[in-house]
Symmetry: C2
Subunit: 213 residues, 2 copies
């Protein structure tokens, strides 16, 4: 199994967590996003979208982090990252999508670049944009985690799920951009419980082969 | 079953298509996004995120369109919107996410509002932003559909899937904003095949109870 990844890509980080939770070995293939390697010929031969992460597993070549994690959960079911019945699984998926659709797409590198270069946003306006979507999006996740009875040690119950694979990288990003997280005790409790696990430690950006100082 | 929807919400449109393909009856509950009803007390009592669509099915209350469609596919399996083996399902999901994560979040109403009000983008810059993400994102989908052997009458094979439920509303949006779609023959062929089906016709914005002229 091969994972095309960039150490600071939070979508790649989600998949690294899932692989680590399942104890799956893989070859790490770095794609340097800041140097635009995702747009080059080598990666272009593998991916029609030019996006990391990309997982190669035998004949299967799969993009999109959440699709990769669903695939891993179907092919390598233990431990399950989508446990429970259809309603449980819907809650886990909707939490992951509350982050993957409502926060992350607004704050990734190519969007921030477009804001500055094409719209002419100042550095201050760009950072305010980043914090606005991260803080408002995470506040919605906090309301859910604090108010829904299925929340346990982790986002859903007492084992890590797809939702935790998605939440943790978003918190890393939010901390990097100095977002206000003090009003999110449930989110931060779940985050701490995740980071106490070796799988989350092993998957974090600073532990990647391509990590920079 | 109840669906909280707005006629022009493309995420709601995805779910309406899935419900129609499965022949599931539901009560339509309109939430007027332009009037900010999603932020009001009535909808706030149902949703902690303030987002449509929201599906209520017995005890289950589910947000996020893709999580809703996965739920419907698990609870009401026929016809399957995620057919095939794990690799097939991964391809279908990744196509849906190529739209739901890479295009749609950048172009929804609250983001366009923020661009204008907070960043000071002109109407022209806002429309260019919209077209940029729609056209570049759909071009990636075109490369996939044109180049991958699993594409059939629809995005994946010869029956509509989750990927088609996600593609069609995005084309409606792109047409509304005068995006360039002439260089996307495969996308537009699939779109036409979808719109020839009664389920897609029944789910479209103009067929909604809350449709405006």
């Amino acid at each position: 199994m091969e994972l095309y990844s960039y150490w600071r890509s939070s979508a790649s980080f989600r998949v690294r967590i899932a692989l680590a939770l399942k104890g799956l070995a893989f070859d790490y293939r770095p794609v340097h996003l800041v140097k635009n390697e995702q747009l080059g010929a080598a990666f272009g031969a593998l991916s029609k979208t030019g996006l990391v992460p990309l997982l190669i597993d035998g004949e299967a070549s799969i993009g999109q982090s959440l699709a990769i994690i669903e695939y891993l959960d179907e092919q390598y079911p233990e431990p399950s990252l989508l446990p429970g019945d259809a309603a449980d699984r819907a809650r886990i998926r909707s939490l992951a999508l509350d982050i993957a659709c409502e926060i992350h797409p607004l704050n990734n590198l190519r969007v921030l670049r477009y804001l500055v270069k094409e719209i002419g946003a100042s550095e201050e306006a760009k950072n305010a944009w980043y914090r606005h979507w991260a803080e408002s999006g995470l506040a919605a996740v906090e309301r859910r985690l604090a108010g829904e009875s299925q929340t346990g040690r982790f986002c859903h119950g007492d084992t890590p799920t797809l939702a935790d694979c998605t939440l943790v990288p978003q918190i890393f990003n939010a901390q990097r951009f100095d977002c206000e997280l003090g009003s999110m005790p449930t989110v931060m409790r779940v985050f701490a419980n995740c980071m106490a696990l070796p799988a989350f430690q092993a998957a974090q950006p600073s532990a990647c082969p391509d990590a920079e100082a």
